[in-house]
Assembly symmetry: C2
Homo-oligomer: 193 residues x 2
Amino acid sequence: MTDKRGSRATDRTEAIMRTTLELGKEIGYAKLSIEAVAARAGVGKHTIYRRWSSKGALFLDSLLSLNKSDLDYPDTGDIVADLRRQIHAAMDLLDRPPVGPLYRALIGEALLNPQVAAALNDHFITPQAEKTLARLKAARDQGQLSPGFDLDLAMDILSGPLYFRALIVQEPLTHEYVDRVIEALFTGMECRP
Amino acid sequence: MTDKRGSRATDRTEAIMRTTLELGKEIGYAKLSIEAVAARAGVGKHTIYRRWSSKGALFLDSLLSLNKSDLDYPDTGDIVADLRRQIHAAMDLLDRPPVGPLYRALIGEALLNPQVAAALNDHFITPQAEKTLARLKAARDQGQLSPGFDLDLAMDILSGPLYFRALIVQEPLTHEYVDRVIEALFTGMECRP
DNA sequence: ATATCGGAACGGCACGTGCCGTGTTGACAC
DNA sequence: GTGTCAACACGGCACGTGCCGTTCCGATAT
């Protein structure tokens, strides 16, 4: 057994997740069945059930296995520019095919299955939110933001409208829209007459 | 057939929707089956399928049949106070038992079923958004807001963070949090050092 | 007489769980 | 190194269950 190849078990796990994504893109998450994944992957159903407790858990892992591509924040010293860059990148990944529809379905599943919701939060939502908070906190510590700046609220105002449009209203997101949200957060809405 | 009672057909429709909500509260939307609704309502499955095309459609109608209680905006002339009042009321209804968990599940279903998503938008999300837009526009027309005030973006910043916390992060919402969002929108985040 | 109903039964699909025969793995003896 | 072997994970198959969406039938109301 050389170092060149992973163990058989790892190979199978990856093959199953790859097949899950492939089938998910073809027929959508809703119609996806574990039987179909097992059949196409050339794998017994047991092998899937041994590793994942539900279709949602399998799907979550499969999607997370993609995102090794980084959604980290740069730190050029300019908080606004860094936020723009990261949010644009995140949006391009999470709101567009091929990942977009799958991510949307995953959140739908999380709303119906608390276990999936917990796993999604632990392995993606919370870590991602903490990256945002950390970057904002760094900016505040560097004096770019007021000491009283509400980091948590800022996080919600950055993320909330995007999720709202993507998931609820289901209208397309654009970089320009992201920029408007960021501008509203940092320079304020043009509000008083 | 007197005027005092609705037609049999209407009676049955309402009985089915009532049973759907009742069962939904007991076992949750995910475990709800049309068979179970039919059995408890003392109704043939055909009678349900004749009226609704899917479990999601039935559930949507059932939930909407509740909300005749108004989520309309008052107009006291004070836009901030009116927004506070309406959003507090909406949140109390949509984010707390008994409706909260059901509404959350409905959105989950909408994310998995485009037909339900479209119906939810047409019959609830969009009308509600337009109420918000109308109230904001009235305030702008009355000179309480700048002519350049971005109504759509304001709507998203009012709704987005709330949906984000309720659905994604799944943390409890409070009136105080709503107030912070509104304050951030109208008086700005305490941002510049 | 006509339409609608409740109830029962149906074929179909996917679930999650057993069992079986087959390989692969890793420890140990020599 | 070579050979042996127990343990384990595997693919495949079949099973019982639950719910789907549909069809049929006898009863009932208009």
